[in-house]
């Protein structure tokens, strides 16, 4: 099923994205995704604050099997091994927002 913006997101990922590889059921799925990496204060304490690093991948849903984008799955982002924390559909379902952490 074609989704709104499909014709735009592909070229956008190709232009601004970085290579992402997901191995699922023995097959490698390779495409481009956009990575955002942000440090932010996540927990205020009595004397300071814990800062956490959030890594968010934006992927085209059709490029990867959703069943493989699950918590604790391994994913390679621009050559770096990461673990998926969670994945959720965005927009009209054409994009997937994947939270990751370095392994």
């Amino acid at each position: 099923m074609a989704r709104f913006g499909d014709s735009k997101t592909g070229p956008m990922m190709d232009k601004f994205g970085i290579p992402v590889v997901l191995t699922y059921l023995g097959a490698d799925y390779l495409s481009n995704g956009i990575r955002d990496e942000v440090d932010e204060t996540m927990l205020e304490t009595d004397t300071g604050a814990f800062v956490g690093r959030t890594i968010v991948l934006t992927l085209r849903r059709g490029d990867f099997p959703e069943a493989g984008l699950v918590s604790d799955a391994l994913i390679t982002v621009d050559g770096e091994d990461m673990t998926i924390i969670s994945a959720a559909r965005r927009e009209d379902g054409s994009l997937v927002r994947v939270l990751c952490a370095r392994t």
Partner: protein, 149 residues
């Protein structure tokens, strides 16, 4: 030089006990954790080992109506337990308490009371960063002397 502040002496004593985690002769659930005073200024790394951060939380009078000859206060600290999953955090917390219980004699000799465990709370605040955190309160009731408050 006068004695160090009571709160700082309590922190030092707790850190010394926590640094025994993972070391013989006792047996422990986790390998030697990193132990530090205060929370780290940099982003918390995704845990490849357990980490403990100790900070002073508050000091409260426990007998405000008593006379002026003695001053009893409760010094509360927070031991932040950082690990990969909430289950790992709970395991780490159990070793924290094990270490503090094993130091009862030391705490009593230094402060007149053992170190007591307070509430423990699992925090989800850093879960988007792949980090699990637990908040363990510990406290000791001390008499602040005029020479070493």
């Amino acid at each position: 030089m006068p004695a160090a502040a009571t709160e700082n002496r309590v922190i030092d004593a707790v850190i010394t006990r926590l640094q025994t985690i993972g070391t013989p002769p006792s047996s422990w659930n986790v390998a030697t954790p990193e132990v530090a005073e205060g929370v780290p200024p940099d982003p918390v790394p995704v845990p490849n080992k357990a980490r403990l951060y100790v900070e002073h939380s508050r000091t409260d009078p426990t007998n405000p109506d008593a006379g002026t000859a003695s001053h009893y206060h409760r010094v509360s600290l927070v031991v932040w337990c950082v690990a990969k999953t909430p289950r790992d955090v709970a395991t780490l917390k159990s070793d924290v308490l094990r270490a503090l219980f094993a130091g009862e004699g030391t705490f009593t000799a230094s402060f007149g009371q053992p170190m007591w465990p307070g509430e423990f709370v699992q925090r989800r605040d850093l879960s988007d960063a792949g980090v699990a955190v637990g908040q363990q309160v510990v406290f000791v009731d001390v008499e602040l002397t005029h020479s070493a408050p």
